[in-house]
């Protein structure tokens, strides 16, 4: 026996929303549908910097410093139900004297492997405040793992090759995305609320925007990131 509640339907304001295919939070206190943020960042990074070894004894070819992708993430009061950040396993390979991929976002507890795919040694290290490691020199085919337990931005370098760069953003929540080379990013499953959206690039800087996500709504943002 169905009840016709057409009248009440007409009373409610019609919202042009598209519900996502995701599941709502499992906790019983908020059954609102999550929204998402789709954004485009216009990156105006400075033209690629070159670097070279000042002493002729080292690798003396001029190389452009490796370009690193930007990352976008949310900051703010993120409700408990939403933060189900699961640790993942990712690999950042050293290939053709570059870190591939150059930017990665992981959640705390994740393990990042650094396999060496080049014929010569690299020495991967970072002195960032939240993750400090020096993997030493290991040959092609071997790999070392680093477990990131603290959130923050980790800048990764190679001691042997001054122009190699990588960035690992460690977050405690899953609301992040790596910005594609065209400048697009998407953060999905965002619980409704007000947050600060941060887009950050290690060479250029960062830009912030206050965003409010509503039930089931996809928020489109357009930002410009320049020096």
């Amino acid at each position: 026996m169905t009840l016709r509640i057409r009248a009440s339907l007409a009373v409610l304001p019609v919202l042009a929303v598209v519900m996502t295919a995701g599941t709502p939070g499992t906790s019983a206190h908020e059954q609102s549908a999550p929204g998402s943020i789709v954004g485009h960042v216009e990156l105006r990074p400075p033209p690629q910097r070159r670097s070279v070894s000042r002493y002729a004894g080292g690798p003396s070819a001029t190389r452009g410093v490796q370009a690193v992708a930007a990352v976008a993430y949310l900051v703010g009061d993120l409700p408990s139900a939403a933060s189900r950040a699961t640790p993942t396993r990712v690999a950042i390979a050293q290939r053709d004297t570059a870190f591939v991929p150059s930017a990665v976002v992981v959640s705390t507890g994740s393990v990042v492997a650094f396999p060496n795919e080049d014929d010569f040694y690299h020495n991967v290290f970072s002195y960032s405040g939240n993750a400090r490691f020096d993997l030493g020199r290991y040959p092609r085919g071997q790999s070392k793992n680093v477990t990131f337990t603290e959130p923050g931005m980790v800048k990764i370098y190679c001691e042997v090759h001054e122009f190699m760069r990588a960035v690992v953003l460690v977050t405690d929540h899953p609301f992040h995305s790596v910005v594609s080379p065209e400048g697009n990013f998407r953060i999905g499953e965002v619980p409704p609320g007000s947050y600060t959206l941060v887009v950050s690039h290690p060479d250029v800087g960062e830009t912030r925007r206050e965003v409010t996500v509503r039930d089931g709504e996809t928020l489109r943002v357009s930002m410009v990131l320049s020096r």
């Binding site: 057409r6 598209v18 400075p46 002729a56 900051v75 085919g141």
Partner: protein, 986 residues
């Protein structure tokens, strides 16, 4: 090292080398055998030819002798004369006769001997002269043999007479059948004959009697005579005067083999020459092919082993589940094909994985695995199953007026919950039909407790429906209600359909009844049958609803309603995790600038950098600041410029301007302010330290650098003041000052000696083996090819030149040359060699204008240095070593003053940014030998150094270092040094 069984490369190499070696050996042996055979053939031929020639000459002589003898043998006068020749006067008659015959026959140098009927020699003549003596020609045995033997009329022998060799023929003189005597005619074998034989045959010939060469070719009598005489009967190879000979001896006369021998020496050089050439070519070819085999074998095995190893590693990764791995196919042969096949395989695996995941979404995982494993059969089996139907009541009315997309989304959301419930209960969602869901428990694998689990799923479905409903009503949307029917019974389960399109499903009355039950249920109700409850055993409470008729079933079915157990629950409290999230959110807020990234501020980061829009031109500013606190136990003027022992603070500020033009041109200007290199009163010295232009090719393998550059010689110069230099001070040879001082004229030996012995002068600023790191005007060419690199540089000063000479271009007479080479044997190990030569001082002599001053015509003295170094880096450990042999020319000491320096250092990373390093340096002063002096200059010095470093950030850190320096003589001048440095590269 290389284990044959474990390394394909070693096997290949062994096979190649073995093959080449066997081939080479066989060829070599064959050539040698042939050589010997050829020599034998030639020798034999020569000997035979010589003999033949000789026999021909003998034949000629025989005819001569025969003719000559005829007159004696047949002439009556001879007999008469012979008969009468018993008395000396009668002998004269015979002698005249012989002389007359000789004249007729025009023979010279002939020996004639007569014997009587008894065999006693009667007369012996040489030409016309009578030879005294009993039997000067030794014809008695010859005569005797003829007289005794009735049949023989003549015989032949060789005799040596008057140191000449004669071919002697003896004839019987008969009278009326009675032998009355013999005449022996000896014809000489002239050196001319022998020489002509030798010339014709191209051999050295010698006729020897009793071990002496009586007649022969000149060389046979000269240099070869000794060897020829001692030659055995068989051929013998000897080396005389650098030429090879084969010497063979054959007896002169077969009748009297002991009488003499013909010795032939055949020159072998020409015979052997082609064989020698063959052998040389063989050796060269063999050596070359050996080397080639090694190179090819190594190269081939490497090109095989490396891809193999990569393949093995990639296979391991695939086994671990990484299907994204790809192997690079470098060659187009089987190995490359294998790599391609491997890639295809992993792509296939990846695809299969994707299919699997897609399949998992479409059918239940259990069915998917069955399908994947190929157990796909048409037809089914009869099983005991529990079937569940769930149906959304009034869905059509619910979604009236909704846009289609929203309808689908709503349906999917609801169905997601229902299927979650089913799967959590261990069931399989069979199909969705519009707003109805069909689930089966007990297929494809029976797990036990199906009925109970189905009821559990039914309750979960009702619970989910309630949640969705309440959320919707709160929003003002229409709630939903769901009816569920569950029945347990026998059904046929299997793949129904055609072979190309299968549906794994369940059919039978059981299914129909469950569907009808569902339709019969009201919203929010779970209806099941007695069979289900019975099968469930410990079932949730159910209430009988009586019997109902169902279409398709003959008798009525007992229907039960299962308690759903849903009540309104209070709102759950926010869990404690939200607090942690809050804190994390605060912590995530980035600090000012990039400090969070572990980097101290830099000029580039502050924007002091310009890059042209196209990126072609770039100019940047950067720098490094070092602040040092030092303490030394012994004042050392040249070290840090102190007046007395104690501590001091030092700074070093360097500002770099980097200029890039395109990718191939780089320029650097460094401005430095520190205490300076040479001791001075002014503790701060500011100057331009480096200014150069560098051109590199695109690959970076070729580079040319010109300007004011750091010294090209010495491995330390290339890592000075970088993070690869973990100590506070340079290594001992670069940081030590000897007694040699350019302003003191060592021509005065007294000054040299007194200076040597004056310990107080050790602290004067003398000349070091190498000044810190010199910065010199010059040009440097570097070239890298494969694992090797080369360096050639010309600079205006030597490593021992004083700093004021480094920057001064006006005084160069001729530059210092530096040669260097290095090889990277493996990623861990690099070896290097270096050579440097150039003038280190002009003694200030050429500028001496004072009258009476002696000016050297060559005031410059050279410094020559040889260096060898190694660097080993692996894991957290770096080891380095350098040995330098350093030779300074000083007037009065021709071979120069020599010192040998050794440095060995090691560094280990204890943790990220924390390292411990230790270094030992030693300088060994060799004894000095001059024109008038010999000085044992044993002031060897050793330094033991250690340091500890901590990186504060990528571009900043602290370093603490200490050393103890021991001078072999002067015990009290052991120096202790300790210092700390804070560095910041901005």
């Amino acid at each position: 090292m290389i284990r044959l069984r474990e390394s394909f490369g070693a096997k290949l190499l062994a096979g190649l080398l073995g093959t080449v070696g066997v081939l080479f050996l066989v060829t070599f042996l064959v050539v040698r055998t042939e050589t010997d055979r050829q020599v034998e053939v030639v020798a034999r031929h020569a000997v035979t030819s010589a003999e033949t020639q000789f026999r021909a000459l003998e034949e000629f002589r025989r005819r001569q002798a025969d003719r000559f003898s005829r007159s004696f043998v047949l002439g009556r006068r001879t007999l008469a004369a012979l008969d009468e020749a018993v008395t000396p006067e009668a002998k004269g008659e015979l002698a005249d006769l012989v002389a007359y015959e000789l004249q007729l026959a025009t023979l010279e140098d002939v020996v004639v001997a007569f014997c009587d009927g008894a065999g006693d020699p009667v007369l012996t003549l040489h030409d016309e002269m009578m030879i005294p003596g009993e039997d000067p020609l030794e014809v008695r045995p010859l005569a005797a043999s003829l007289l005794d033997d009735a049949s023989a009329l003549e015989s032949h022998a060789y005799r040596v007479f008057d140191s000449r060799l004669y071919s002697v023929r003896t004839y019987l003189i008969t009278l009326g059948g009675r032998a009355v005597g013999t005449v022996s005619l000896g014809l000489p074998i002239t050196p001319g004959e022998v020489s002509s034989i030798g010339d014709v045959l191209g051999v050295e010939l010698c006729l020897a009697v009793d071990g002496a060469c009586v007649v022969g070719t000149p060389r046979a009598r000269g240099t070869l005579s000794a060897r020829m005489m001692s030659a055995a009967m068989e051929g013998e190879r000897v080396q005389v005067d650098g030429r090879l000979w084969s010497i063979q001896a054959t007896p002169l006369s077969d009748a009297e083999p002991g009488q003499g021998s013909q010795v032939v020496a055949i020159p072998l050089d020409e015979v052997l020459a082609p064989f020698e050439r063959i052998r040389g070519a063989l050796l060269l070819g063999g050596g070359g092919s050996f080397l080639l085999a090694i190179i090819i074998g190594t190269f081939m095995s490497r090109s095989f082993s490396r891809p193999m190893r990569a393949l093995v590693a990639a296979t391991e990764r695939v086994a671990q589940g990484d299907f994204h791995i790809r192997v690079q196919a470098v060659s187009r042969d089987e190995v490359g094909n294998l790599a391609h096949a491997f890639n295809q395989m992993t792509e296939g695996l990846l695809l299969k994985e994707r299919y699997r995941s897609v399949l998992d979404k479409v059918v239940s995982p259990e069915v998917a695995s069955k399908l994947m494993s190929g157990e796909v059969e048409l037809g089914g089996e009869t099983r005991m199953v529990t079937v569940l139907f769930a149906d959304i009541r009034g869905f059509t009315e619910l979604t009236e007026g909704m846009p289609p997309q929203r309808v689908i989304n709503l349906l999917n959301e609801i169905m997601q919950h229902f299927s979650d419930a089913v799967e959590r209960a261990g069931g399989v969602v069979d199909k969705y039909v519009g707003d109805e869901l069909m689930a089966v428990f007990g297929v494809p694998v029976a797990q036990g407790g199906e009925a109970a689990r189905a009821l559990g799923a039914a309750r979960m479905i009702q619970e989910a429906a309630k949640h969705i409903s309440s959320a919707r009503t709160r929003r003002g949307d229409h709630p939903i209600s769901v009816g569920v029917g569950v029945h347990t019974g026998i059904a046929v389960a299997g793949n129904m359909g055609s072979r190309d399109r299968l549906n794994y499903t369940v059919v039978g009355g059981t299914v129909n009844l469950a569907a009808r039950l569902c339709k019969s249920a009201v919203g929010g109700q779970i209806l099941c049958t007695g069979e289900t409850l019975e099968a469930a055993g410990d079932a949730p409470p159910a209430r009988s609803m009586g019997s109902r008729p169902f279409k398709g079933f003959t008798s009525e079915v007992e229907v039960y309603s299962v308690e759903t157990g849903i009540e309104d629950r209070p709102k759950a409290r926010p869990r404690g995790r939200s607090l942690a999230i809050l804190l994390a959110g605060m912590f995530l807020a980035p600090a000012a600038g990039h400090a969070q990234g572990g980097e101290w501020p830099t000029l580039a980061g502050a924007g002091l950098e310009y890059v042209s829009p196209s990126g072609f031109f770039q100019i940047g500013l950067s720098g490094q600041l070092d602040i040092e606190a030092l303490h030394t136990s012994t004042p050392w003027a040249g070290l840090v410029h102190q007046e007395s022992a104690g501590g001091l603070a030092a700074h070093r500020l360097r500002i770099f301007t980097d200029v890039f033009v395109g990718d191939n041109v780089y320029g650097l200007i460094e401005f430095r302010s520190d205490r300076g290199h040479a001791p001075s009163d002014d503790p701060v010295s500011a100057r331009i330290e480096q200014a150069y232009l560098r051109f590199t090719n695109d690959a970076g393998s070729l580079g040319f650098q010109v300007g004011l550059i750091p010294a090209p010689f010495g491995s330390y110069s290339q890592r000075h003041l970088t993070t690869a230099d973990p100590f506070l001070r340079p290594p001992l040879p670069y940081d030590y000052h000897t007694v040699l001082h350019r302003l003191i004229d060592p021509r005065s030996i007294d000054g040299f000696l007194s200076w040597r012995d004056d310990s107080s002068r050790w602290r004067e600023p003398g000349v070091p083996p190498l000044w810190d790191v010199p910065y010199q005007w010059g040009g440097q060419l570097t070239w890298k090819i494969g694992p090797m690199d080369f360096r050639l540089a010309g600079v205006n000063s030597a490593p021992s030149s004083e700093p004021d000479a480094w920057y001064d271009l006006s005084e160069i007479e001729y530059p210092s040359w530096v040669l260097g080479t290095g090889i990277t044997l493996s990623p861990s190990l690099r070896l290097g060699l270096g050579y440097n030569r150039g003038p280190w001082t002009d003694w200030g002599l050429s500028h001496d204008d004072t009258p009476g001053a002696t000016v050297y015509h060559d005031p410059y003295s050279d410094q020559e240095m040889f260096s060898a170094d190694f660097t080993f880096a692996r894991g957290p450990v770096v080891l380095r070593g350098e040995a330098i042999l350093d030779r300074w020319e000083i007037p009065g000491v021709p071979q120069g003053v020599v010192d040998v320096n050794y440095t060995v250092e090691g560094q280990v990373d204890l943790a990220a940014g924390i390292f411990l390093a230790a270094r030992v340096g030693y300088i060994d002063f060799r004894p000095v030998t001059g024109e008038t002096i010999e000085v044992d200059w044993d002031y060897d010095v050793a330094r033991y150094e250690t340091s500890l470093g901590y990186r504060l950030a990528r571009n900043a850190g602290v370093l603490v270092s200490a050393y103890s320096q021991v001078q072999e003589d002067f015990g009290e001048t052991d120096t202790r040094f300790v210092g700390a440095r804070l560095w910041w590269a901005f």
